[in-house]
Assembly symmetry: C2
Homo-oligomer: 108 residues x 2
Amino acid sequence: MGATKTEHFTDKQNQIATIAKALGHPARIAIIEYLMKVNACICGDIVNELPLAQPTVSQHLKELKNAGIIKGNIEGNAICYCIDEKTIEILNTYFFHIVQSVSKNKCC
Amino acid sequence: MGATKTEHFTDKQNQIATIAKALGHPARIAIIEYLMKVNACICGDIVNELPLAQPTVSQHLKELKNAGIIKGNIEGNAICYCIDEKTIEILNTYFFHIVQSVSKNKCC
DNA sequence: AATCTTTATTGTAATATTGCAATATTAAAT
DNA sequence: ATTTAATATTGCAATATTACAATAAAGATT
């Protein structure tokens, strides 16, 4: 035991959980905010912006990429990262439905 | 090492990460969906809905409660759970800003 | 070709999460 | 006062995550 029982849940539930989980770390939120701030693909000076070592940042970027939250384009020996709106939109749409549904049926 | 370095990030970054993290498990998404489906506070028959043991569900509920995503009202020996829209709204607003910002400045 | 720059990978230690059996708690019902 | 029902807590094993030093890989520069 200890491993998440993903097989017991729907694909959609797992999809939302995977994206949310990838955003469930302040360093990864900070990366997203930085990518937003610079308004473009950034050729990896993310390490200089974060209070974390390069391998740690690289690992966080990998997780964001695996979850489809960012894209990485190779440009020479550097890599340009940028946010993949489509994935954030999936989350946004999902949570919007929750807010709508809940505010329509107040109980507590 | 191994513990998240929360002290290096802003309160807002930690707040968003905490909420997202709590939603980063399919069981917890399934709980949210169930609470939405029944359209009301539900006096905890969540255990019967999920393919998980009672202590496991109880733990997931605790995490959702700690993150402010659900509220639990004690009613006799049962507990009524419902979604706290305010917290979901925080996430929703945050991600909406990201989508807006990114779609305004396409790069990749 | 040798070196520099940038990013990824590997290995490892510390810590956190997941899941559940067993048990405890708390309030209602008998 | 016992019993029943609902939920929480404890303790523990399995697994996952976080962080980083050391190293590797791959393209650019000299």
